[in-house]
């Protein structure tokens, strides 16, 4: 029997309405007891003890949006290297997007991801499968079989499902399996050629813009289809105020709709692009400050359900280019938690809401057993020092590529120990 007790931690879990100082007992990868003074009640002598010094212990973070290069472009990121990055960032479960080579659109490929993750990753990895074959937006995938094989949701990843008829059928068909349909919402015809947010700044820089309304238009169309079909629908990332408003109204009307936002979009804005910084070239693009503030409010009031990293490793050669030619995307697994904590420190969102958006809600959306500190739940949790100040050095990142927008930023708070299935997979300062 393998028993570990984590003593004297601030246990915080919105899912169980828990916020107290106490201990947590783990046996064979599961949480078997939680409460104050477990140790004095007499833990067995074969139990390993980990002192937590009153630090914050929460469920491990669940990141719903991660891109890797496995299979196909392993030089960018493998499931293994992404998992090192995740562990360092306090993420105990991440969901990979199907935009690999080949696309995850077949049962055998879902199997491949699960097996590779089991063999090479130190955190839990689940795939989202494609909604359409090769993410081409035309032919539906085997949603039922893929779900049975382990796909936690369905998305064409960073490709919007543009065809209204295909979207209608996918939503309609998905209801039978209670599958979650995840959309990257953007009308690509309206955003054609754009490389940053359409704005005065883009005009000054001489860069073609992607208007925010390209996102809102597609969300509005999809919401009509959700109303029609009753399917569970999730917008992978909202990036502007209008989208938040539209989703707030849809939720008020009782539609089964949820959405996410990236930590980058909550903490950065388009002005960070100034002087053509390609590490700030994201999709959706960073918007104006008004939009960023609206996104933070959306998280605070629960309109935006989850916060994701939208981790997207890019080879330096695809970033060391003129802005228009550079690739979209930034790594984010290791900054998801610190960036979110910066909003807590600023008083913009509560710590409980931050934890909820990073653990409880994604677990609920995806039907995962983790994301809570409860007896019988997997022992996936993270011990954090939420106050420690530090400066991000890109060379310290565990990810294979270092394209972080937080290069040299001053951050406050980070994971100090990450536990997956009762096993410690990361301790700050150790490798």
């Amino acid at each position: 029997m393998n028993r570990t007790v984590f003593v004297n931690a601030r246990l915080c879990d919105p899912a169980s309405n828990l916020d107290l100082t106490g201990d947590i007992l783990v046996e064979d990868g599961l949480i078997v007891d939680i409460g104050p003074d477990l140790v004095t009640q007499g833990a067995a002598s074969d139990t390993e003890t980990v002192p937590c010094h009153g630090k914050l212990l929460t469920p491990g973070l669940i990141d719903m949006r991660v891109f890797t290069g496995e299979p196909g472009t392993e030089y960018r990121e493998t499931l293994g290297s992404a998992s090192l990055s995740a562990a360092a960032g306090g993420v105990t479960t991440f969901i990979v997007m199907p935009n690999t080579e080949p696309v995850i659109d077949d049962v055998a490929l879902v199997d491949f991801i699960s097996r590779r993750a089991r063999d090479t990753a130190i955190v839990n990895v689940h795939p989202m499968a494609a909604i359409t074959k090769a993410c081409q937006g035309e032919q539906m995938t085997e949603i039922g079989l893929l779900k049975d094989a382990g796909a936690v949701a369905f998305t064409d990843g960073d490709k919007p499902l543009a065809n209204s008829l295909v979207m209608r059928r996918a939503l309609s068909y998905a209801t039978f399996f209670d599958a979650l349909i995840v959309q990257h919402a953007e009308d690509r015809t309206l955003a054609a050629g754009g490389v940053m947010n359409e704005s005065e700044l883009a005009s000054r820089l001489g860069l073609a813009g992607r208007p925010a309304l390209a996102e809102t238009i597609m969300i509005e169309r999809d919401l009509r289809l959700v109303e029609l079909t009753g399917a569970r629908y999730h917008v992978a990332q909202v990036s502007c105020k209008a989208s938040v408003d539209v989703i707030r109204r849809a939720k008020a009307a009782g539609l089964p709709v949820t959405c996410g936002v990236s930590a980058s979009h909550l903490t950065l804005n388009e002005n960070d692009v100034a002087s053509y910084r390609t590490f700030m070239k994201l999709l959706p693009p960073l918007r104006g400050e008004d939009d960023r503030v609206a996104l933070v409010e959306g998280v605070a009031d629960g309109t935006i359900d989850v916060i994701v990293s939208s981790h997207h490793p890019q080879d330096p050669e695809t970033k060391r280019l003129p802005f228009a030619q550079a690739a979209f995307g930034a790594v984010g697994l290791e900054t998801l938690w610190p960036a979110t904590l910066s909003l807590v420190h600023a008083g913009s969102i509560t710590l409980e809401r931050a934890i909820d958006a990073l653990t409880t809600r994604p677990a609920k959306l995806l039907g995962l057993p983790s994301g809570r500190l409860q007896k019988g739940a997997p022992a996936d949790f993270v011990l954090s020092d939420i106050n420690v100040p530090w400066i991000l050095n890109p060379d310290d990142l565990k990810s294979k590529t270092k394209n972080t927008p937080y290069d040299e930023r001053r951050l406050q708070g980070r994971a100090i120990r990450t536990i997956v299935g009762g096993k410690t997979v990361h301790v700050l300062g150790e490798n």
Partner: protein, 322 residues
């Protein structure tokens, strides 16, 4: 060849000329004053100065250009620089060499000045971060074309005696134009009143917040204008993507005598070239010796580029670099 160098003081405390943005009116005025001197020099028999003797100037053009490249080449040669022209065709980029590779390769040859034109906004600034010499922006994407704005300003200032208070109407494809952006910045800095006139499809988002008055109607926008600055409309943008057809564009946005009549009687007509006659400008208007200063702009171009090269060279190190 004159032995007395640097007799005219210049106020330009920058290493590069990447754009008009960030320059003060004093710095712009100083470059224009120096340009005036070179206009005079260029009209003499002996046009040669030793200002750049021993210096190497590389003209690195990623986009085809005849007039800007020859203007920079002539400017460098008249100042005694060793000038090398490099046209990097798109095919050699396809061979895999990136902009940064090209920059570091050229940098190893110890140039003193690199003049760069590139099709992407921000590309010249990116290159300037990777080289040890001075960089002049000869046009980057839709971003800036500072020497064009300077030569336009010089042309106006010599004709009108000032820039301050003049009404300058910039007409045509503002959206894609680096010439328009640099001119808006420069003319605003120098106190002119800038108007832009274009169909809404050719106006960038937020243009009204860049210190210009926005018009869609040529007749309204040209009213009382001192300067009418026409822009080139690229061929690929004429047929349906931004405007429906050439004849419709010319009808509403092309400069002809009828529309010109709304401007001041002594209004000057300018165009950065090359012109599309019958598209954005009527041929007779373009050639009107009483109104059009289009050829004068070309002359001013050489002088302005000499002034820019001269100004930058004064900040170059004179000692050997180890």
């Amino acid at each position: 060849m004159s032995d007395v160098e640097h007799t005219i003081p210049v106020n330009y405390p920058h290493r590069h000329l990447l754009g008009i943005e960030g320059l003060t009116s004093a710095e712009i005025g100083s470059i224009l004053d120096l340009s005036d001197f070179y206009v005079g020099l260029n009209r003499q028999v002996d046009k040669k100065r030793a200002v750049l003797r021993g210096r190497t100037q590389i003209n690195l053009f990623f986009e085809a250009s005849t007039r800007t490249q020859s203007s920079f080449e002539l400017a460098g040669k008249r100042l005694s620089a060793d000038v090398m022209n490099m046209s990097v065709s798109s095919s050699s980029i396809k061979k895999g060499e990136t902009l940064i590779d090209t920059a570091t390769t050229l940098n190893a040859m110890h140039p003193d000045l690199i003049v760069v034109r590139h099709g992407d906004s921000g590309a010249v600034e990116l290159l300037s971060q990777k080289v040890g010499c001075s960089v002049l922006n000869a046009g980057d994407g839709s971003h800036e074309h500072p020497t064009q704005a300077l030569l336009d300003a010089l042309t106006i200032r010599r004709r009108k005696g000032r820039l301050e208070g003049l009404i300058v109407a910039i007409c045509g494809d503002i959206l894609h134009s680096r010439v328009a952006r640099s001119n808006i910045l420069l003319l605003n800095t120098m106190g002119a009143r800038v108007r832009v006139i274009a169909p809404k499809t050719l106006l960038p988002v937020g243009i009204e917040r860049m210190g210009v008055e926005v018009y869609n109607d040529m007749r309204e926008g040209l009213k009382d204008a001192d300067i009418v600055m026409m822009l080139r409309l690229q061929l690929e943008r004429m047929h349906g993507s931004f405007v429906p057809s050439v004849r419709e564009y010319f009808q509403y946005f092309g400069l002809d005598y009828e529309k010109l009549a709304f401007a001041k009687p002594d209004a000057l007509i300018m165009h950065p070239g090359p012109m599309n006659r019958g598209v954005e400008i009527d041929s007779a208007v373009a050639d009107d010796i009483n109104r059009s200063v289009i050829r004068e702009q070309v002359e001013m171009g050489v002088a302005v580029r000499m002034a820019a090269l001269d100004a930058l060279s004064r900040n170059l190190p004179n000692e050997a670099v180890q």
